[in-house]
Amino acid sequence: MENGIDQKSEILLKAEHIDKKFPGVHALKDVSLELLKGEVHALLGENGAGKSTLINVLGGVFPPNSGEIFIEGKKTTIRNISDAQREGIAVIHQELVLVPYMSIAENIYMGREPKRNLVVDKTEMNREAEAVMKRVGLNRDPSTPVRELSIAQQQMVEIAKALSLDARILVMDEPTSSLTENEVNILFSIIRKLKADGVGIIYVSHRMSELFEITDRVTVMRDGAYIATKNTKETNADELVYLMVGRKVENYYTRNFREPGEVTLKVKNLSMKGLLDNISFEARAGEVVGFSGLIGAGRSELMQALVGLRKYESGTVEICGQLQNHQNYHKTIEKGIVLVPEDRKKLGLVLINHVAFNTTLAVLKEFMVRGTVNRKKENEIIDRAVKTLRIKTSGNEQKVGTLSGGNQQKVLIGKWLATNPEVLILDEPTRGVDVGAKADIYEIIDNLVQKGITIIMVSSDLNEVINMSDRVIVMKEGRITGTLKHEEINQEAVMHMATYEGGGNESNKENAG
């Protein structure tokens, strides 16, 4: 299917001079946006640029202070979510909002279940659900509880729900952030189908390569203001980054490769029932070892096993020649191996507490001994993290939940660097992080390996793995299916190992095709 759109396409949505103020923040400054029928329109900007606010204004979460919205040329006011629904606008949020214990059909028709004599007509509901599920290519029994679905399938349910509401304008906020390459391809084919049906899609994403693959136009925002709208075909990544950041970002990936040192981490025949099968690998000082694979390949589980957060049945882990016999994570930390977990909000940070609290949480014993608190030492630890990682805060007392995604990630990395690790495991270190902070994190990683730290980097972002790793280990279904040296790494090789190597299962092959 063509990405280009008919010049004569009619305008589906037009938002003009939208202004939104919150106490102390001017979130949207005179922003305009235009969406055509059958267009995929990217909304691009760093965290805090105002994308979410704009989405929320369109979705009726909060009304704007001023500005006008036209739907198919007719002026409308959107004061709440039901106004937005009536106008055919549906928002698919980054964090999916489905009830896990209810069925697919119940989730799709929540609040407007088909009824017969006051009783919900389940047969009718399932039949109708099946019809919309077909439109998004979800081949499951509509009575399946949502908790049994993968993230990608749950997203399909959200899209199906939007379609069942006759949505003509679909807003997708970072729809691929927790999807594997395969699942992204499936999502894109759904998007192309919707496009052909004349649905307009506002697509928010940080991933540049996706924008070029799927969108027709890109609108860039910065600091709450409209910057520019470009035809995707007539622009390039450098220009978009420049518009987004407002300055040239040179050396997006910082990495100085050199010969790695001694072996610091040695894993032998590690197995975990149903999750990991006979995993063996080594990592050296001053080396970045990338871990690639589909979600569910067992990468995160392996990393959690290495630090002692999960028990494994057999195998050995050696750190700097010392055999690990760990039961508890707090003992493992002292050995010099730490994990910066994926999903910083859920597993990483205490969002309601401040920067200082979070940064020092793993090293309390360095300045708290038997009831005495060495404030000087404590502040040293915090200042070092803030300075070396260039964390932007209003002060050490700022609540972590109010920081941008990139700065939250830096606080999390800082927390673990404070333990002076030999081996630092980073699980999805740049997920949901804006371009500027991403470049910063790459630079931090490079600095750390220069100092002789071993970095294990689990990432679903192939470009990141390719550009940053000395070696890439590819996993599939709990097994290592291949290792690639830096000069051998390319997208095709990695994807091949992640999906086919060693006999793939049927559904994977099907999805890939």
Partner: protein
């Protein structure tokens, strides 16, 4: 109000200012009640009345410490009321049967500690919801209290033991002295020790605490054990003050303790709360009862008033937090 807020913002590094700022809502409520009662009753602002108020709130203040600690780790402790009764009965019975006074006191406290350890271990190892576990343990404790007391209050005739609850240190009643010491101890634990930070981390984000290498089970068992010990101590002091071990005492005390914690700014979802806030929370509950008594309001209406005040205070606090 805006001017006050602005001035507070400018000096937010100062600990006193920080305290005023975080507890602005409840302090205002306290001040309004205080002023109203000062004018409405000529008995309110007298030394004798305030010594009474302080003594009356001491039981609630001590058990509130434990309940707030449980709330801080996003749990709850509903056992405190029955632990008060059980510990009081055990101590009085032992002392009346000739056990040395100190031994009797310590055994009473130990029984509460044991109850806390059991509660904490059940919660930590089975991962059952604290609400259910402590509700069940509340019944166990109440039953045990009646069994120890054979179903009727045990009279205490040992004057030296009674002194523990009725005596004074200078002009200050003993129970108030204990409360101050225990508040100080708790402040120390929460602010100056690793354990304290771990408590805030577990309540703020349990999974992040696990991924930070914090031993969650240890934190949970400590908190419920601490709460059990404090409630038992409060129970022994109360028994000394009343000169009897009463198996029916303390029913519904957990409500006042939860109220004091929440009024003091503790978040029911965990991770937020402080000893400073708790003191004000307990004071508000205390002068509310005292004030209504002085005004001659029917005691049944006092329950209604307490309930209404809790809802209003929490609602105001919620709005304030959403704005910030």
């Amino acid at each position: 109000m805006n001017l006050i807020k602005k001035t507070l913002d400018e000096h937010s590094a100062n600990p006193v200012v920080k305290y005023l700022k975080t507890n602005l809502g409840i302090l205002t409520a306290f001040l309004i009640m205080f002023l109203f009662l000062t004018f409405a009753s000529d008995k309110f602002l007298t030394v004798q009345n305030w010594i009474n108020v302080a003594r009356q709130i001491s039981t609630n203040a001590v058990i509130s410490i434990g309940v707030m600690s449980a709330i801080l780790i996003s749990g709850i402790d509903l056992t405190v009321g029955s632990v008060i009764a059980l510990a009081g009965c055990v101590s009085v019975k032992l002392i009346e049967n000739g056990t040395p006074i100190l031994m009797g006191i310590l055994t009473g406290v130990a029984v509460g500690t044991l109850s806390g350890i059991v509660t904490g271990m059940i919660i930590a190892y089975t991962k059952m919801p604290p609400f259910v576990v402590t509700l069940a343990m509340q019944n166990v404790g109440r039953g045990a209290a009646y069994l120890v007391a054979n179903g009727a209050p045990i009279r205490c005739t040992t004057e030296a033991f009674e002194k523990m609850g009725t005596g004074y240190l200078g002009p200050v009643p003993n129970p108030v002295v204990y409360t101050v010491i225990l508040m100080g101890l708790t402040w120390f634990i929460l602010n100056k020790t690793q354990l304290g930070r771990h408590i805030y981390a577990v309540g703020g984000n349990r999974e992040a605490a696990v991924f930070s290498g914090i031993n969650i089970k240890k934190v949970e068992i400590f908190v419920y054990t601490y709460s059990g010990s404090l409630a038992a101590f409060a129970g022994v002091v109360l028994a000394a003050r009343m000169a009897s071990g009463q198996p029916a005492v303390g029913i519904g005390y957990e409500t006042d303790a939860v109220a004091a914690s929440v009024l003091g700014g503790a978040s029911m979802t965990g991770g937020i709360g402080s000893v400073g806030g708790l003191i004000i929370g307990a004071l508000v509950i205390g002068i509310l009862s005292n004030g209504l008594n002085l005004l001659g309001v029917n005691s049944f209406w006092q329950y209604v008033a307490k309930g209404v005040v809790i809802i209003i205070a929490v609602y105001i606090d919620m709005i304030r937090k959403n704005k910030a």
